[in-house]
C-alpha cells in the first residue's frame, strides 16, 4: 500500500461539484504534480487531503484513514498545507523570524539546538537569512512564497500539500523553492502534492495528474504522458481543420499533418485533451484599427527614471525606449521594480527623478497627461474589472468612459468578443469565468479606444497553457495589424522569447536591454531563456 492514497474523493461547494471521484496515490519521497486549467478542481482536492474541507470518499495516509476534517485531526501534526495565493498564510505585520517562531510554537516543537539549526537551514535555503527582521508585508512576492514554504516545512511534515506555490514567482525564486522541496523529499521522505501552472516544473515531478472540469483525465510520469500525445505534436505549421491548433512553437493535430513531429512538453496535454474533447478553442483574430490616427515612431522614452520609497530605491535611474510595432518584455525578479516602473509611466506614482517623454510629449505634470490618456491602454496585475457587472456591462462602461458613442461601442465590443473568443461569456459575471477569459476580456477593455500603446502587468500569471498561447497570438496580431507598441511583464521565461526585445531589471537597475536573439548570441551556452535570465541574476551573488 502506498504512503498516501486518495480514494474516490468528491468535493462539493454549496451544491456544485468541484472534484468528482478523484483517486491519487503517492509513495514516500515522491513529488506529485496536479495540473489543469484554473477551476479544474485541484485546490479542492488538496484541501480535502489537508483535512480542511468536507468530502466524500476516503483518504489514507501512512496507514491512517480519514473521511472528514474531524477525523483528519489526528493526522494534522504530520500535514503541512500551503494554500493558493501569494503570502496568504503570512501575517503582514510579523517579521520573518517571528513567523518561524510562531509556526514552531503552534506546532509544539521542542525548542532546542536542533530546531534552531533546522530554522537556520531553512532560512538559508530560502535566502531569507539577511531579512529575518523584515515584516512579511514588506517582502517581495517571491520572498513571501519562500517564507510561506519554510513556515509550512518547520514541523517536518511527512505530507506536504502546496497549492500553486510558484505562481507569480520569478524564475530565480522558483528555482530556490524547488531546491528546498527536493532536499526535503530526499532527506525526510516527505510526500508532496503540488499544483503548478509551470509545465517545466511538472516535468520534474515523479508523477502528474491532469485535471479537467473536476475529474482526473490522465496521470503518469511526464515521459509517459508525453508519450501518449507524441503522435499529435508537430513543428509549427498552419492548420486547416478544427481538429488542429497552432500554438507558438508547436502545432497540435489529431489528424496526421505533412510536417515533422516535435518532442512534446506537458503543455501539449492541454491542447490534445481539448482537441479530443471537441472543446472549441477559438481562433484569435484581430481586424484593422478603425482609427486612422498615426502612431509616433518612438512611443515612450524614459531617461534616468527613479522612484524611491523612503530609503528604498525601487527604480534607480532607468533608461528605456519603446517603439511602435514592438513588443517589449520587462523582466525581473519579484521586487525588482517592474510594476513600479509601469506605474510611473502611467502617472500612478510620482516620478522622483528623471525625464519621461510619452507619445512625443515631455511629461512634467498631471496636465501633460490629460490629452494622452485616450491613447494609452493598461491592464493591471489582477485584471481589475468590476466584479458586480457582467462582461458586456463592463465593456460598455469602459467604452462610455472613453466617450465612444453607444452604437460604435456595441459593434466594437461584439467584434472583439468574437475575435478574442469570449462571445459566449458576455452575460456572465467576471467571478464566474476562467482566468483566461478574464484576461482576454480585460485586454479587450483596454483596447476599446484603440490605444497606440499597451501596458500589460503580468497578464499571464496563473493562466493555463491554452489561454496563454491564445493571449500571445492576440498580442502578435495586435502588433502586426495595429502596429502599436506593447510593454509586458511576465515570469514565464518561455514567453520572453515572443518579445522583440527584453529589458531585465535587477534590484531597481537595468542590467540588460537587447533583442532575444542577441541575448542568445551573448550566452551561447544557454539552452533556454530561463538560463539567460538566471545568469544575470547569479552574477555577483
Amino acid at each position: 500500500m502506498a504512503e498516501l492514497e486518495i480514494r474516490g474523493v468528491t468535493v462539493k461547494h454549496g451544491g456544485i461539484t468541484a472534484v468528482k471521484d478523484a483517486s491519487i496515490y503517492a509513495e514516500r519521497g515522491e513529488i506529485i504534480g496536479l495540473i489543469g486549467a484554473d477551476g479544474a478542481g485541484k485546490s479542492s482536492l488538496m484541501h480535502a487531503a489537508a483535512g480542511v474541507i468536507r468530502f466524500e470518499g476516503e483518504i489514507v495516509f501512512g496507514g491512517t484513514s480519514f473521511d472528514s476534517p474531524r477525523e483528519a485531526e489526528r493526522l494534522k501534526p504530520k500535514i503541512g498545507l500551503m494554500p493558493q495565493g501569494i503570502g496568504l498564510v503570512l501575517y503582514k505585520n510579523l517579521t520573518v523570524s517571528e513567523h518561524l517562531s510562531f509556526f514552531s510554537k503552534i506546532r509544539s516543537l521542542k525548542e532546542d539546538a536542533a530546531l534552531n539549526d533546522y530554522k537556520q537551514r531553512l532560512l538559508k535555503m530560502a535566502g531569507l537569512e539577511r531579512f529575518t527582521e523584515r515584516p512579511a508585508g514588506k517582502l517581495s512576492g517571491g520572498m513571501m512564497q519562500k517564507l510561506s514554504l519554510i513556515c509550512t516545512l518547520i514541523h517536518r511534515p511527512s505530507l506536504l500539500i502546496l497549492d500553486e506555490p510558484t505562481t507569480g514567482v520569478d524564475p530565480l525564486s522558483r528555482l530556490e523553492l524547488w531546491k528546498i522541496l527536493e532536499e526535503i523529499s530526499e532527506s525526510e521522505g516527505t510526500v508532496t502534492l503540488m499544483s503548478t501552472a509551470y509545465m517545466q516544473e511538472a516535468e520534474k515531478m515523479d508523477r502528474v495528474y491532469l485535471f479537467d472540469s473536476g475529474t482526473i483525465i490522465a496521470s503518469g510520469t511526464a515521459e509517459e504522458l508525453n508519450e501518449t500525445v507524441k503522435e499529435y505534436v508537430y513543428e509549427p505549421v498552419a492548420c486547416r481543420s478544427d481538429r488542429c491548433i497552432a500554438a507558438g512553437h508547436y502545432t497540435y493535430s489529431l489528424d496526421p499533418l505533412e510536417a515533422p513531429h516535435k518532442e512534446p512538453t506537458l503543455e501539449a496535454l492541454f491542447f490534445i485533451n481539448a482537441l479530443k474533447r471537441g472543446v472549441e478553442i477559438p481562433e484569435i483574430e484581430v481586424s484593422e484599427r478603425e482609427s486612422e490616427e498615426p502612431i509616433p515612431q518612438v512611443v515612450m522614452e524614459a531617461k534616468g527614471l527613479t522612484k524611491r520609497f523612503g530609503d528604498f530605491v525601487a527604480d534607480d535611474h532607468i533608461d528605456m525606449e519603446l517603439k511602435s510595432g514592438e513588443i517589449l518584455g520587462l523582466l525581473g525578479a519579484n521586487g525588482a521594480g517592474k510594476t513600479t516602473f509601469i506605474k510611473m509611466l502611467l502617472g500612478l506614482y510620482p516620478i522622483d527623478d528623471g525625464e519621461l517623454v510619452l507619445l512625443g510629449r515631455p511629461i512634467r505634470s498631471a496636465k501633460d497627461r490629460q490629452g494622452l490618456k485616450a491613447r494609452i491602454g493598461y491592464v493591471s496585475q489582477h485584471f481589475s474589472l468590476y466584479k458586480d457587472m457582467t462582461v458586456r456591462e463592463n465593456l460598455l462602461y469602459f467604452a462610455s468612459m472613453h466617450g465612444i458613442d453607444a452604437k460604435k461601442a456595441s459593434s466594437r465590443i461584439d467584434r472583439y468578443a468574437k475575435e478574442l473568443g469570449f462571445a459566449s461569456y458576455m452575460d456572465s459575471l467576471p467571478t464566474e469565468l476562467p482566468l483566461g477569459i478574464n484576461q482576454r476580456f480585460s485586454v479587450a477593455a483596454a483596447l476599446l479606444h484603440e490605444p497606440v500603446v499597451l501596458f500589460l502587468d503580468e497578464p499571464t500569471s496563473g493562466v493555463d497553457a491554452i489561454a496563454r498561447s491564445q493571449f500571445w497570438q492576440m498580442l502578435k496580431l495586435l502588433k502586426r495589424k495595429w502596429g502599436i507598441a506593447i510593454l509586458i511583464t511576465t515570469h514565464y521565461m518561455s514567453e520572453a522569447e515572443y518579445c522583440d526585445r527584453v529589458v531585465l531589471l535587477k534590484e531597481g537597475r537595468k542590467v540588460a536591454d537587447d533583442s532575444v536573439e542577441n541575448l542568445y548570441k551573448k550566452h551561447p551556452a544557454a539552452k533556454s531563456f530561463e538560463e539567460i535570465f538566471l545568469h544575470y541574476y547569479e552574477d555577483g551573488r
Binding site: V52, P69, L81, L88, N93, L94, E98, F102, I106
Partner: protein
C-alpha cells in the same frame, strides 16, 4: 489544551494589535464614547434661552423678570415693545426657546385684585425639554404670584421628597454608569469578531485549519487578548466616571470589577458568534454594532428605568443580558447594596450563566474547516 500553543498565538495577536495600531481603537473608542456622551448628553434643562417682553415695565413685572434672570434654568433677555409676531419668528428661527409676554397694566390689575394673564410660548420641537421648561416657568410664576398675595392657600398638599441614589438628580450620575455598560458590551465584541474574521478574510485562518491546534485553543487564543486589553478599560472607565464626572461610588469595587469582567466575556461571546456567521471585517463590524448598540441603550436604564417597561419591551429586556449588568453597575455606583441584596446575587449568577452559555455556543458552532 497546550499552554505553549496558546501562548504563542496570544503573543502573535498582541504583536499584530500593536503594529496594526488596532490597539488605538481599543483605548480611544471607550474613552471617546464616555467623554462625548458624558459631556454631550444633558437631559437636565439649564440656560433655556428665554425672551421676556415686558409690556408693563412696572415694579412687579420687573420683579418677575428678575426671578427669571436669577434662575440657572433660564438664560433671560428682557425687552419691551417687541411685537408678538416678531418674537414668535425668533422661536421659529430657533434663536429663542421660551417667550414670556407680560401684558400692559399687569401691575394695575393685580393691585386691583383682578385676574391677569401671562402668555407663554415654548418651543416644543424637543418634547422632553418642552415639558420641563413648562414646569420651570410655572414654578417661577406661581412662586412670584404667591409672594404677592397674603391669602393662605388651603387644602395644600406638599411633597417631602427624598431622592434616593442620585440626590442632586445629576445627569452624569444617571448616564455615566450606563455608558460603562454600553461600552463594555460593544467594544470587546467588535475586537474579538475582528480578530477572527480578519484571519478568515486574509486567509491566515488556514494556519489554524491545517495545523493540529484545537478549536478550544484557537478560541482561547483569540479571546484572551481582547479580554486582557478591555480589562484595563474597566479601570480606565471607572476613573473617568469617578474622577472626571464625579459620579459617587457607594458599592463594592470588587463587585464592579467581577461583574464587568463577566460582562466582557459575554461581549466576547457575542463577537465570537458574529465571527462565525460573517466573512468580511466590514460586515462583522456593522453587524456587531447593530446587534449591540440599540439593546445596549434601550435596556441600560440610562434613559428609561426597567421598572417603567411593560409588555414586549419588558420581556426583551429580560432576554438580553444588558439589564442584569446595568442593575449591578448602578448598584455599585449609586446604591451600594452589593452582594447583600439577593437580587444582585441572582443577577450576577445570570450574567455568569450567559457568559458560559455564549462561549460554549460559539465553540460548538465554530467549524475547523473551510466552506
Amino acid at each position: 489544551m497546550s499552554p505553549g500553543v496558546i501562548r504563542a498565538y496570544i503573543l502573535k495577536e498582541f504583536r499584530e494589535l500593536l503594529r496594526s495600531r488596532l490597539i488605538l481603537i481599543v483605548y480611544i473608542l471607550p474613552t471617546m464614547i464616555i467623554i462625548l456622551f458624558g459631556y454631550g448628553i444633558r437631559m437636565e434643562v439649564t440656560d433655556a434661552r428665554t425672551l421676556i417682553i415686558d409690556n408693563d415695565n412696572s415694579t412687579i413685572s420687573r420683579d418677575l423678570s428678575a426671578r427669571f434672570e436669577h434662575s440657572r434654568y433660564f438664560d433671560t433677555r428682557v425687552t419691551s415693545g417687541m411685537g408678538e409676531q416678531e418674537a414668535l419668528k425668533r422661536i421659529k428661527q430657533a434663536k429663542v426657546d421660551i417667550l414670556v409676554i407680560i401684558p400692559d397694566s399687569f401691575e394695575k390689575r393685580l393691585l386691583h385684585g383682578e385676574k391677569t394673564e401671562i402668555g407663554v410660548f415654548i418651543d416644543g420641537a424637543f418634547p422632553v425639554r418642552a415639558a420641563t421648561m413648562q414646569n420651570y416657568v410655572k414654578g417661577v410664576v406661581y412662586d412670584a404670584a404667591r409672594s404677592l398675595t397674603d391669602k393662605k392657600p388651603t387644602n395644600l398638599i406638599t411633597v417631602n421628597n427624598r431622592n434616593l441614589f442620585n440626590q442632586a438628580m445629576r445627569d452624569e450620575d444617571a448616564i455615566v454608569p450606563g455608558l460603562i455598560g454600553l461600552i463594555l458590551l460593544v467594544a470587546p465584541a467588535i475586537l474579538s469578531a475582528l480578530l477572527i474574521v480578519k484571519e478568515k478574510e486574509e486567509g491566515t485562518i488556514f494556519n489554524f485549519y491545517s495545523s493540529p491546534i484545537k478549536k478550544s485553543e484557537f478560541i482561547v487564543a483569540k479571546l484572551v487578548p481582547p479580554l486582557i486589553l478591555h480589562t484595563v478599560n474597566i479601570f480606565i472607565l471607572f476613573l473617568w466616571a469617578t474622577w472626571l464626572f464625579e459620579v459617587p461610588f457607594r458599592g463594592s469595587f470588587l463587585l464592579y470589577w467581577a461583574a464587568s469582567q463577566i460582562y466582557i466575556v459575554i461581549s466576547l461571546g457575542v463577537g465570537l458568534l458574529v465571527s462565525i456567521i460573517t466573512r468580511t471585517q466590514i460586515v462583522a463590524i456593522v453587524l456587531t454594532i447593530i446587534i449591540t448598540i440599540i439593546p445596549g441603550f434601550l435596556y441600560s436604564g440610562m434613559l428609561m428605568p426597567i421598572s417603567s417597561m411593560s409588555g414586549e419591551s419588558k420581556i426583551e429586556a429580560h432576554i438580553y443580558p444588558v439589564m442584569y449588568f446595568n442593575h449591578i453597575i448602578y448598584d455599585t455606583f449609586l446604591i451600594g447594596q452589593g452582594l447583600d441584596s439577593p437580587k444582585n446575587r441572582l443577577y450576577l449568577a445570570i450574567l455568569f450563566f450567559y457568559a458560559v452559555f455564549l462561549i460554549l455556543l460559539g465553540s460548538r458552532l465554530m467549524k475547523k474547516e473551510t466552506a
